[in-house]
Symmetry: C2
């Protein structure tokens, strides 16, 4: 216990010590990205890239198989079976979430999950094991440790033994009922407000919107409880959700992201902690995990 | 210096100690609000309540005269002079801000500020003095102390000597150029994404949207740099911005908020830190300042 307290205390003091060093040179975000080496950008695998089409817009989602393997596999099966095509966005709650699934309230009328499973284990956290961890030095209100792993924002306990994805803006979650294991990825939500971190470890996160989220954030807010649309005619139709790997090569989006394990990403964190852009009067000296950008770009080749 | 370190360390340890007490009973948010006494609700003064009308929607903003007295006085003068009527929203940046002002780029064509001043001091922070402070026990990435004062989220230095408003979702700020003192409240922005706390103490905040923000968050994102609209015809016209005190009594919105100095608000904080709603599997044990709701309701009398 005393060891744990010491670790926490040091984590809390670190930013104070570091911010005394504010005069040290740090690059700007633009400089870091311009200087990143080609090999520091990682191609997002086609079978981990979900392509959602709504009203002519394209939303791209990276799946987090390291953190929610059963939910990701089920979502891949649902996408392969074209499960979501013609289903609907039913909930848009201001400063919270956009949520979609099967609007049929009657159990008997609900669409078949096809090859996907109706019952999955909750995947709220995992044993950390051998996953990489790019740790942030600044304190966090919710988790003993925060940082990034393989492109996603993560939290860990003080011992670093268990870890979990964080409810940052743009994260994708699997809606559930009161039972912890009642999600199966057939009902999904994306965070569109100040990060509701109290949901961490209470519901399974399984991915992140990496492009096109504005097609969802501009949708009218629902006027029913929890932001649900009150009338079926208000539902927003989903044209399709596909894995990039299932699309014809000519239609397949190809994206890469800056590796969160790279030296450039470590520099990016420092660029966000100490703002060198001339506009900043106070260089900040800190950063919170959901305020670190995760750069993504189209593959050029 | 050693005293300062001790204070920080204690602040960081507190949540660990408190979360060991997870079995203690705490109310839910709904219970707190149902039990709040009438005198714990505070009427928002008519001359501190800004009424913005855009496309038939009404957005209500409470002004923070305790933290930005010069900017609030100037904004009051601008509203009294109907300065904003017919001006425009020119910038909507995804996961960041909505911003409005005078779209005329040519200095000579810009609208007169009337009785308002063109030049104000920067009001990034203030000596804390006698202001009340409802402090949160959980650590924060950016500020040594966080909490609430007279209805607004605030941060303070470790000594509690200086304090400032925080860039939480829905906060209203005064746009500025590179010079720290180049804002005068004629160009305004509202936060519509994950709270960009790196802006704290870099720009003057002067209020908070307390109702109707969804009329702004659904606006199309600008496709130019920083989310500016690229064409004048994309600008969203502002019908009017008025002080409630200037409106005819029959049109005047009347709102009250739960006092952040009340016992019920202290209970609300605990209700958000320890989630008792049956849905929660993990009761959280912490809360971050921008995730504490600031309840507002229509005055019923």
């Amino acid at each position: 216990m005393s060891m744990r307290i010491l670790t926490l205390a040091l984590a809390c003091l670190l930013p104070v010590l570091v911010s005394a060093d504010e005069a040290a040179p740090a690059p700007t975000t633009a400089e870091v990205l311009a200087q990143a080496k080609p090999e520091e950008w990682q191609r997002i695998a086609d079978d981990k890239l979900l392509v959602m089409r709504v009203g002519g817009s394209q939303i791209l989602i990276e799946l987090a198989a390291d953190f929610a393997p059963a939910h990701v596999a089920n979502l891949q099966a649902l996408a392969r079976g074209h499960y979501f095509d013609g289903l609907a966005i039913m909930r848009v709650q201001e400063n919270y979430v956009v949520q979609w699934g099967d609007p049929a309230e009657d159990e008997g009328k609900r669409r078949s999950l096809g090859a996907a499973s109706g019952k999955l284990p909750a995947e709220f956290d995992r044993a950390w094991g051998e996953l990489p961890f790019a740790r942030l030095p600044d304190p966090d209100a919710y988790a003993a440790q925060t940082g990034f792993s393989r492109g996603f924002p993560v939290g860990r306990d003080a011992a670093g033994e268990r870890g979990w994805l964080l409810h940052c803006y743009a994260m994708l979650g699997a809606g559930r009922g009161d039972a912890a294991d009642s999600s199966n990825a057939s009902e999904l939500y994306v965070v569109i407000g100040h990060s509701p971190r109290h949901l961490d470890r209470n519901i399974t996160l399984l991915g992140r919107v990496i492009e096109g989220l504005d097609a969802l954030t501009v949708l009218p807010r629902g006027t029913g409880p929890l932001g649900f649309y009150e009338k079926p005619e208000q539902h927003v139709a989903i044209d399709s959700i596909r894995l990039a790997s299932e699309l014809p090569a000519a239609e397949r989006p190809r994206r890469e992201r800056l590796s969160t394990e790279s030296a450039s990403f470590a520099r990016l964190i420092e660029a966000r902690r100490f703002r060198r852009e001339s506009w900043f009067v106070h260089p900040v000296g800190h950063v919170e995990v959901c305020n670190v950008p995760l750069p993504v770009r189209a593959v050029t080749d």
